[in-house]
Symmetry: C2
Subunit: 226 residues, 2 copies
């Protein structure tokens, strides 16, 4: 429900919506159906079973919408200072990726860019975890070549999160940073390591191997935002 | 696998382990079975189907262990400065709770204390998300009365995370803080609100309603740890 509300408040094009019939008297869903109808968007009412087969979640909330994934690339981003790009290098858990997008939107990060091997940022689970962030925050996917070109053109410093890096705060943050977070299990890829201008770490207790990647991203982005 | 490794490196009593037979040649699992046998702990080998019926996860890794939940209360905690207690007030998602424990352990928080309405911190999903934190970090559950008594005895300041609170950093942190994080949907309970000495917030963009509770906890605890 929340995601569809956020979707309708955004610039993203909505093609259609599907509503589970017993839920269409829920006031928030009824409001959404009215807003969709005012925009002449197709709303299809279906049975609980039909809805369950489409919803991809164990406890669907009774409405789903079909939108058009915005076509955007790094090159479309406006020139700005400070510039902060959150770069996902093979982050695979949809909940982590969605939470990272939510955090990036909340902490005024310019865009999130996913490299090959990362979960599809527009996968339904990622969108649900994003809690609407997808509709207000540029969520991009692309190649290393695109990142390299953008980096040269905008003089972007590449900071890569790694437990063996320098403690965050030891280096003054430049205006334009692409912060790379690696895979949940294996960390940074060799491509990230080759491109990093600087490796940064969050000092943690020796009894713990690492922080969850979405928590680490949250701390880094908060510190870089201050 | 990782959780069982961490369990065997801790003081927690292990009663038995169950191994999925086709996996007992995996080197990490074979090592665990050897360590368990050396301690005279019962190891039961079972079929894949039997293992699946016990494992409570879609992709079990082939070993599970049965341990004794440590009996500990707030009153058992050593007197120390700084004292940092992470208090969960009806946090319900097991992944969030486990991630918060992992973060608390990583950032040298003294203990995590769960109030009524919070997911059982020793639920298997929470333990998996905790990535071993349960075995090195005091994970306690109790009542408001216990928290009140501990607070009086140890002169603990109660800080409650709330979007309408003062920006973090505006108030100097005392040596002894109990930081309360509320429910994912409804936030702080009235009991928390009544007890708070101070409400604290993380400044975020107005387009985003809130941060994920585990990310917010991570940022608060990192800032209080610095």
């Amino acid at each position: 429900v929340r995601s569809v509300e956020e979707l309708l408040s955004s610039q993203v094009e909505v093609r259609a919506a599907v509503v589970s019939s017993p839920r269409d008297e829920d006031p928030r869903i009824a409001t959404l159906v009215r807003r969709l109808s005012e925009r002449d968007t197709l709303v299809q009412h279906v049975t609980v079973e039909e809805f369950a087969s489409a919803a991809e979640t164990d406890s669907p909330q009774g409405i789903l919408a079909i939108g058009v994934v915005p076509e955007a690339t790094l090159a479309d981003l406006p020139v700005s200072d400070p510039l902060r790009i959150l770069v996902l290098d093979a982050v695979q858990d949809p909940g982590n990726a969605g939470t990272m997008l939510r955090t990036a939107a909340a902490l005024s990060v310019t865009a999130t860019f996913s490299l090959p091997g990362t979960v599809d940022l527009w996968n339904a689970k990622v969108v649900r975890s994003g809690m609407g962030a997808h509709f207000h925050h540029p969520c991009l996917a692309g190649t290393w070549d695109e990142l390299d070109a953008f980096r040269r053109e905008r003089s972007l410093a590449i900071w890569a999160a790694d437990a063996a890096g320098e403690p965050l705060g030891a280096t003054t943050a430049p205006d334009r940073i692409g912060l790379i977070l690696g895979n949940e299990g294996s960390g940074l890829s060799s491509q990230s390591r080759e491109r990093a201008d600087c490796f940064v770490a969050l000092p943690i207790a020796t009894t713990v191997e690492s922080l969850n990647v979405a928590v680490a991203a949250g701390i880094f982005l908060y510190e870089l935002h201050r």
